[in-house]
């Protein structure tokens, strides 16, 4: 009897768990994406955005855009007064937390641009998360002038 109760209790817990991870599939939202204008002949630039997570811990595992050959996830670490930039395979996003990609910090690096990105233009960014979620959004191209005022 006692074992039966335990069994039912466990079953409920497992079902709850499954229910939760179902919810997690759509737990991530991405906001405020923008891309810095590039400077020809340089064919790369950086993209920034804010990721909010209302579910279990996950990670950004890849990014892509039709406007560039490659989109890498770069993290910045400060070491004294030197900023170090590293390419990483996954950017962890904590449970019920967020990850902000902003100038001077972590960013997506768009390498091998297929066109010059001038202010007023925008591009599609597709982000893939470890929880299976895939988000596509449009990111406007921001001029240096507007960036300086941010």
């Amino acid at each position: 009897m006692r074992l039966g109760l335990f069994f039912i209790f466990s079953l409920v817990l497992i079902l709850l768990g499954v229910g939760c991870s179902d919810r997690d599939i759509s737990s991530v939202t991405v906001k405020n994406a923008w891309v810095r204008q590039n400077i020809p002949p340089q064919s790369m630039t950086a993209a920034y955005l804010a990721i909010h997570n209302e579910g279990m811990a996950t990670a950004l595992i890849s990014a892509s855009t039709p406007a560039a050959k490659v989109a890498e996830i770069h993290v910045m670490t400060t070491d004294g007064n030197i900023m170090r930039m590293k390419k990483i395979d996954r950017l962890p996003i904590p449970e019920d937390g967020s990850a902000t990609l902003q100038p001077g910090g972590n960013h997506l690096m768009l390498i091998g641009l297929r066109r010059n990105l001038a202010p007023g233009d925008s591009l599609a960014l597709t982000l893939t998360f470890a929880n299976g979620q895939v988000q596509t959004l449009r990111a406007p191209v921001v001029s240096f002038r507007d960036e300086g005022r941010r």
């Binding site: 400077i39 020809p40 340089q42 770069h74 900023m83 001077g104 091998g112």
Partner: protein, 193 residues
């Protein structure tokens, strides 16, 4: 050994303003005396001419960067452009020196094209590796090849101070990345007083 030396230099840079700047305005007061580092330099400008700081007789903002720098350098240039807008006439004589730490990829022509995209009266400076390294050392700055596994080719990690030099070429302040365009304008205005 060289790591220890760099660490010492960095410590020196990090601690100096705390000693020098009056307590009442710990962040935004021009140093009354020049800092004991920084100073004269001779490099090649973005038109291919020799550039000798001591001949210039005007104030400068100076920072180290490279043209394919994707984040920190454009961010700094954008902030400087904003500072120039705020300063207006007060920045009449002020020029910006962009010292390349990537002479392999940054030709004078490349620097000129790069800098023309910003609303900053800037001069790109480059030179042979040894000349650049000497300037980096004199300014207690630092750079090194960082990530090599990027599709972008190698990336360079570098220190992020922007130095303010007076019309005698003496170093009077340096800005951190956390200083805003308004902060820069506030300090630059003190130069003309």
């Amino acid at each position: 050994m060289s790591f220890a030396f760099c660490s010492l230099l960095l410590l020196f840079v990090a601690c100096k303003p705390l000693e020098r700047v009056p307590k009442s305005d710990p962040d935004l007061a021009l140093s009354a005396d020049p800092y004991p580092f920084g100073g004269d330099l001779t490099l090649v400008d973005h038109d291919g001419n020799s550039f000798h700081l001591a001949d210039q007789q005007r104030p400068f903002l100076l920072f180290f960067g490279y043209a394919s720098c994707p984040d920190a350098c454009p961010q700094t240039m954008a902030r400087l452009a904003s500072a120039y807008t705020i300063l207006g006439e007060d920045a009449r004589d002020l020029r910006t020196l962009f010292v390349s730490v990537d002479p392999k990829r940054d030709s004078p022509q490349m620097l000129k094209t790069y800098l023309s995209h910003f609303d900053v009266p800037a001069v790109g400076l480059t030179g042979v590796q040894d000349s650049i390294d000497a300037v980096v050392k004199r300014y207690a700055a630092h750079y090194e090849i960082g990530e090599r596994n990027s599709a972008a080719g190698y990336l360079i990690d570098h220190s992020l101070y922007t130095y303010l030099l007076d019309q005698n070429g003496d170093l009077r302040f340096f800005f951190r990345p956390s200083h805003t365009a308004e902060d820069i304008a506030t300090v630059v205005r003190q130069l003309s007083r």
